[in-house]
Amino acid sequence: MNGPGEFICRVSAQVSLASDSYLLKLEAPTLAWTTSPGQFAMLQCGEGLDPFLRRPLSIHQVERKRGVVYFLYQVRGQGTRWLAKRSKGDMIPLLGPLGRGFTVNPAGGKGLLVGAGMGVAPLLLLASELANQQWEVVTLMGAQTASGILRPDAFMDYGEVRTATDDGSSGMKGTILDLLNKELDDSSYDMIFACGPLPVLKGVQSISIDQGIPAELSLEERMACGVGACLGCTCGGADGEYLRVCQEGPVFKAGEVDIDG
């Protein structure tokens, strides 16, 4: 890894999916080649000085030969609202790749991907890399309702996909943790990779510890610099010291972090 770069990227396409979510395709050849699964970029989401901070978004998918990078995101506030209005030809400054991503053991294995809501964003690139390294991949996706299950078809390229929704409109009726417990009852896995809201990550963390299955969790925190310089994005570490989500994370081993601590 040579460290992040600053790129002004051309939008090559943007499409709106369900549930206020968007798939953004940027021309970013260097980023496409240098990033690894679980890393993110800081995107400038405005023209003036408001909003002032860049927005962290996970690298969702890359097409190395075409030099493009995809982001999958949900409109939450001012920055993502601005981003959703961009279209082909617009330019977006971006800093990346950033952070420590998922561990993809080249020896292969059986991996369980757990994506709650928008938490699926960093998992697609991971699924593809795992598949490349001969891993067997199963993806669990959870949401409130079927329209919140994002891009299940894309995940199907790399292995089986199972879903859970609160209302039962897609897959199992229940939470993604219910689905995870069921899945672990049925099969054994070498590794769990999870991303989603804190309660889900906390659940995965205790399941991982209880059942002795190693897990990696992708966390979120408010960020300013994105490169480890400002100490603004810390979360509690297992040994009481603060860890920088942008540098020691965003992906942590389940035992490293004190979630909601």
Binding site: P4, Q44, F52, L53, C225, V227, G236
Partner: protein, 303 residues
């Protein structure tokens, strides 16, 4: 190429653009983005005598054209800093200034002692941090108290002593005069304004620390005003800061009376901000036939 160099109380810099304490890590975080040796000087994160864990998260909150931070001086302590971080900072071949934040005068003196002879070329006395319970701003709002801290440090060290002041006071000129009288070699203006944001859904403050320091372009007019006033009242050089993002912003501070400038929050909006500022300062000088940038210091009130 105009002459951008500055001798800041004995610290020789090839240009006046420094990093603002706490915003630039050790510099290595940005080393893949631009050549750090282009900077005029680097300023460390605020150091304390003992290691500090810092405040509980969230520590950052965006505000209109700025941000609040409440990092709370997380740092490994001055000793670990000297052994683990300083070598890589010195490796960039740029003057390194240590920002020190004692909670007592004795702590300041002890840190000054430990830092001398380490390669550090100057000390920035931080009596203006709004995010700690002892020391910090409490030492920097009463002229006599501030002067006493400065006097003790100046007595201990041969390094140039830069005193960083808070704008959260009724009369910053009075404070500046007091610390100049106590032997400060230079001043840094300004540290952050105190502020807070409330999450209306949770009905509680966003920051784990409740309050934080407001920085970024939002506060730039307050910074320019502080420099303008103080530069006309004291004879020591000033490092200006507060929302500087462009060459034009830096020039506002220089014309107001700053000999050097520091870039902080701008890195978060544009990681290349320092490079942009140095380039634009040079362009301005060339365009306006200014041979030496230092000739512009205070020009807005001098003529």
């Amino acid at each position: 190429m105009a002459d951008l160099s500055v001798n800041l109380a004995g610290i020789k810099m090839k240009n006046p653009v420094m990093s603002a304490s706490g915003t630039f890590g050790s510099g290595s975080e940005y080393a893949s983005l631009f050549d750090i040796s282009k900077m005029g000087a680097l300023v460390t994160k605020g150091l304390t005598l003992r290691p500090r864990a810092g405040n509980k998260p969230p520590r950052i909150c965006e505000t209109p054209a700025g941000l609040l931070n409440a990092v709370g001086l997380q740092n490994p302590g001055v000793e670990a800093f000297i052994s683990d971080v300083l070598p890589e900072m010195l490796g960039f071949g740029v003057p390194v200034i240590a920002n020190i934040a004692g909670s007592t005068t004795d702590e300041f003196v002890e840190m000054a002692r430990q830092l001398s002879g380490t390669g550090i070329v100057g000390l920035e006395i931080n009596i203006s941090c709004p995010n700690v319970k002892t020391g910090g701003m409490a030492l920097g709002t009463v002229p006599e108290v501030a002067a006493q801290v400065v006097e003790a440090v100046v007595k201990e060290t041969d390094l140039p002593v830069i005193v960083k002041l808070t704008p959260n006071v009724t009369n910053i000129v009075e404070l500046a005069r007091a610390v100049a009288g106590a032997g400060a070699d230079a001043l840094s203006l300004i540290n952050t304004l105190v502020g807070m944001v409330i999450d209306v859904e949770q009905r509680k403050p966003v920051l784990g620390n409740v309050v934080g320091g407001l920085s970024g372009p939002a506060i730039r007019p307050v910074g320019v005003w502080a420099v303008w006033q103080v530069a006309q009242a004291v004879d020591i050089p000033i490092v200006g800061m507060g929302g500087i993002c462009t060459g034009q912003d830096a020039l506002e501070f220089i014309l107001a009376g700053a000999s050097a400038v520091a870039v902080g929050s701008a890195f978060f909006n544009n990681p290349m901000a320092a490079v942009r500022i140095i380039t634009e300062l040079d362009e301005y000088c060339t365009k306006h036939g200014v041979d030496k940038l230092q000739d512009l210091v205070g020009a807005a009130w001098k003529e």
